[in-house]
Amino acid sequence: MSVLVYAENTAGLFKKATFEAITYAFDIAGGAPVIAVAIGPASEEHLKTLGQFGASKVLHVDNAAFQNFDARVYARVVSDAAESINASKVVLANTYSGKSLAPRIAVRLKAGLVPAAVELPAANGIKRTVYSNKGFADTITKTATQVISLTPNAYKVEGGKADATVESFTSSVKASDYKVSTIEVKKVSGKVPLTEAEVVVSGGRGLKGPENWHLIEQLAESLGAATACSKPVSDMHWRPHDEHVGQTGITIKPNLYIAIGISGAIQHLAGVSGSKVIVAINTDKEAPFFKIADYGIVGDAFDVLPKLNDAIKALKAAN
């Protein structure tokens, strides 16, 4: 028995969601080997560090032809790796690419898939979120092999183990198997990606208009946070659509979510209620957001935000 982890990388760099997945894989392996598979060019230095989180070996597809993401091709590589080490479990981070790969890998390996897992396996199965964070489902797989796609920010990162050995890996899939060609990648630079952010500052219709968003952005900058918004705000084009969180937007699970001028409609909460700590700032003391918030200020955003930003800046400067 062994556990395979898909070590997603962007241009050879690994991120927190991958470290969480490796830590999780190590914790479920119960001493069995944890092997990572990484696709595309990456330095030996970076690959070795995956061992710190618990991978004893990294299988590396060191081939520039595999740099771009084609879910069909990548799923074949990961499944081949799983078969080559006889893995009984495959762990991925439930990121955009993880979500594209996990179902394909599950079919290839004829394995039961637990998507959006948030906890370690227990007697009842693995806990995952359902009904847009309004519930959990303990899920059992009925197959010899299991695929687990771990929600980012749901599990700890634990380093401090030994470096991994790096081995080159060649799968049955060839560069000519690509069907999806990548024409252009538009990275939003200089901004914390919303899905990975530990702190999120979010604004709603209470902010009155796009011209007031500097208040949100300044606070986010002081906190090293990402910015988000409610659906009407992106519908009115005050903010880009990829900032829209909620039932029909994206689901996030930061450590801290600060909701400013957002009423707290059930569809909005669906995307953010998994946040560890919630702060709501709203002029209306009856706003539904206060029912799920941990901390609240009943007040005018235009008055509170500058003061809050100053206090945060002072705290950050002092620490």
Partner: protein, 246 residues
């Protein structure tokens, strides 16, 4: 352009979710079921693509029991040419995907559309599974899709940005918000839907790879601690010292 759109039926977005006492199922008393919002976008975009191509057909397919018929009729009213209901209780993404892939495999579809995820089970699994079963390429969470002959140019979300990709039919794609605005059925559509074909298919087999053992609600939140708006410093202190989050 021959397009298949996968439609799932989910509780209305305003539903207060509760589970049956044994924790095995949604308490569906008083719950209104709707077409999954992302699937509505997929359906609308499929119609737009057919119209842009000037020919073709849009088939809506659902795996579900007879109670899903009002929603599949709604898909016809929105504009699908025909509908298929695979008569089974959807219990597992692999089961649903295998049934849809089995239906689709010899029908000559150019494109299979799903939603990015169903808002009940949120797995986002079915599209990728169908694609793998058919050995087709798949592109998830797309923001735009334009065809030039059989080649599609697609913009999709990736972590921390967007990506433009190109690929040829057949393919599986999943819809998300920015793709289009959902179409509302009009009176003519509703009338026409009554006479459009709705085939009920019995699945050849039904295999489940997973099972939900218990459904639970999130733990109740403690009450909100209020800080006076004239004393925001207190909030910062609480976040720093009590919540230890900043």
């Amino acid at each position: 352009m021959k397009i298949l759109v996968c439609i799932s039926q989910v509780p209305d977005t305003t539903t207060k979710i509760t589970f049956t006492p044994d924790g095995k199922a949604l308490n569906s008393v008083g719950v209104t079921f709707i077409i999954n919002p992302y699937d509505e976008l997929a359906l609308t975009k499929a119609l737009e693509l057919k119209e842009a191509a000037g020919s073709g057909s849009v088939t809506a397919i659902t795996v579900g029991d007879a109670s899903t018929e009002p929603n599949i009729r709604k898909a016809l009213a929105i504009g699908a040419d025909e509908a298929v209901r695979i008569d089974a209780q959807p219990l597992d993404a692999f089961q649903v995907s295998a049934m849809i892939a089995d239906y689709a495999k010899d029908k000559g579809f150019d494109l299979i559309f799903t939603g990015r995820e169903s808002i009940d089970f949120n797995g986002g699994q079915v599209g990728g599974m169908i694609a793998e079963m058919l050995d087709w390429p798949s592109v998830n969470v797309i923001n735009s899709i334009v065809f030039n002959g059989n080649k599609a140019t697609i913009e999709r979300d990736i972590d921390g940005g967007r990506e433009v990709v190109e690929l040829e039919t057949p393919m599986v794609v999943s819809a998300q918000k920015e793709l289009t605005e959902p179409r509302i059925p009009n009176m003519r559509g509703i009338m026409a839907a009554r006479t459009k074909p709705l085939a009920v298919v019995t699945p050849a087999s039904s295999e489940l790879l997973t099972e939900v053992s218990t459904l639970t609600l999130p733990p109740a939140k403690g009450s909100c601690k209020f800080v006076d708006s004239s004393n925001v410093q207190e909030l910062v202190d609480l976040l720093h010292n009590e919540a230890k989050i900043i």
